[in-house]
């Protein structure tokens, strides 16, 4: 659950209504997490809270975004929330892997928080094993995207303008039948689970995947 850094008194906690939530999937090569680190440090985002959960391996360390002696000794934990109200952006950084059997509970807790905080959309940064690419995928960009149906209407056109490629589905039973196609994102962590959970259709989810 989300616990704000500052609480008590008149503080009502941060308001994320209409914000875009940017978060990583804990996936191969830590690609999403590295990208999130760059976003938080480049935009100098402020830490506004923690995502306190029993689904992630615990870890602590000193502030990885330190710019001076004064802020280098702030403690960071495994899941923290940063915000930039001027860009209506909220970022969840996840720094450790999931505990066994906790993928689904985490997705449920996350989506419950997204709904209660009234975020407008979720952008998930993920990655997948490059050695799983087929002949066509080996050519061209290693970047792929995935959209939920309601975001398809809102930004599908923009994806085409940018010439981005949608993540291809693969045969469910390769060699036996090519008709049934499924989403296959090996090394992608919770990416596939988030996209196949029906509840995410109520809040647009966009995935950006890199095959490193």
């Amino acid at each position: 659950m989300f616990i704000p850094c500052h609480r008590g008194g008149d503080s009502a906690g941060p308001d994320f209504q209409g914000f875009t939530l940017l978060m990583p999937a804990v996936s191969v090569g830590n690609v999403g997490q590295l990208a999130i680190d760059l976003v938080v440090s480049t935009l100098d985002m402020t830490k506004v809270g923690y995502f306190y959960t029993d689904c992630l391996v615990p870890m602590v360390g000193n502030n990885p975004y330190a710019t001076a002696e004064e802020n280098s000794t702030e403690l960071s934990i495994n899941a923290e929330v940063y915000s930039l109200p001027s860009k209506k952006l909220v970022v969840l950084q996840i720094r450790s892997p999931f505990i066994k059997n906790k993928y689904r509970p985490f997705c449920e807790t996350l989506l419950s928080w997204v709904k209660s905080s009234k975020c407008a959309r979720v952008v998930l940064l993920s990655s997948s094993h490059a050695y799983q690419r087929d002949d066509e995928q080996l050519l061209g960009t290693p970047l792929r995207y995935l959209l939920t149906p309601d975001l398809e209407k809102a930004v599908g056109g923009r994806m085409k303008e940018l010439n981005w490629k949608e993540m291809e589905k693969v045969a469910a039973y390769p060699g036996i039948s090519d008709t049934d196609k499924v989403l296959h994102i090996p090394g992608g962590g919770i990416t596939k689970l988030l996209f196949t959970e029906r509840v995410i259709e109520e809040c647009g989810l966009e995935g950006i995947l890199k095959m490193p």
Binding site: I3, N30, Q33, L34, D37, L38, V40, S41, Y50, Y52, D54, V57, P58, M59, V60, G61, N62, N63, P64, Y65, A66, S72, T73, E74, L75, I77, N78, R95, S96, P97, F98, I99, K100, N101, K102, Y103, R104, P186, G187, G188, G189, K192, L193, T196
Partner: protein, 278 residues
């Protein structure tokens, strides 16, 4: 420029993330097996005497995690006159099983709670058993759930291999064992050693306790001893000695001669016998 913590994963788990298994719907049989395993892996905290009435009023909570940290408290703080056992943790995992006995050896796996008789708000925990990652949250909730958090300060002692320490310094000049500290935002007192530099991290139960304190705004400090000895070792135990000058432990320290006697016992306990001859 951001420094990142790097990959937080134990090597065996990287090989198979079992994503397909995680994403699959559970069959009723899978659910039953999972429930049975969860039941077997439940963490039980058994409080005794007046501690059975909760919430416990606690001003200082000192937690020693791992054999060497636990042995430091045995050598320099604990004795049977000033301290009484008030609780025990019972758990099982693939690495260890603890029991409800309070009569333990330094090489056993145990997790015991002690209270200072002259000031019952001072609690101490020796946790030499391994608490698995799926049990750490339970441990936290059951231990801290029994305590009143107002006015509480937590001190955590733990050890880890010096091979895990990341530094640009040459390892030739790195003298181990050495102490490094991490503290929560609310902790205002001076620390007894340098703070842990990026990109080093702490994991497992020490990290779980410190994270809990950070989130719930409890002043807490973690002292991590980096050592190149993996078993019970007096040099590693003594590396924690600077903590005896801290505000929390100063008034609790035993007589030096008593400490030396207890340390000598650890020396004989940890001797290995490698002789092979007919």
């Amino acid at each position: 420029m951001a420094t990142f913590f790097g990959e937080v994963v134990v090597a065996p788990s990287r090989a198979g993330l079992d994503e397909e298994e995680e994403a699959r719907e559970e069959t009723p049989e899978d659910r039953e097996i999972r429930r049975e395993i969860e039941k077997k892996r439940e963490v039980d905290v058994l409080w005794t005497g007046s501690c059975a009435q909760q919430p416990l009023v606690c001003s200082r909570f000192i937690v020693a995690i791992g054999r060497n940290a636990a042995a430091f408290l045995s050598s320099f703080i604990l004795d049977s006159v000033c301290w009484e056992v008030v609780g025990v943790v019972k758990l099982w995992n693939e690495w260890c099983r603890t029991s409800s006995t309070t009569n333990v050896l330094p090489t056993d796996s145990f997790c015991l709670f002690y209270r200072l008789i002259s000031d019952p708000t001072v609690l101490l925990c020796q946790c030499s058993c391994y608490v698995a990652e799926d049990q750490q949250f339970q441990w936290l909730e059951k231990v801290f759930g029994s305590m009143q958090k107002k006015g509480l300060q937590v001190t955590i002692l733990s050890t880890c291999p010096v091979a895990d320490y990341k530094t640009q310094e040459s390892t030739l000049t790195l003298v181990s064992p050495f102490l490094k500290a991490l503290k929560t935002k609310e902790f205002q007192e001076p620390v007894c050693c340098p703070l842990l530099e990026q990109p080093n991290i702490v994991r497992d139960l020490p990290a779980a306790v410190l994270s809990y304190c950070q989130v719930w705004q409890i002043p807490a400090v973690l002292y991590q001893c980096y050592t190149d000895v993996i078993k019970l070792d007096t040099v590693t135990i003594e590396a924690f000695k600077p903590l005896l000058s801290s505000k929390v432990l100063k008034s609790l320290a035993k007589d030096a001669s008593e400490s030396t006697k207890v340390l000598k016992k650890f020396l004989t306990t940890s001797e290995t016998h490698n002789n092979i001859y007919i």
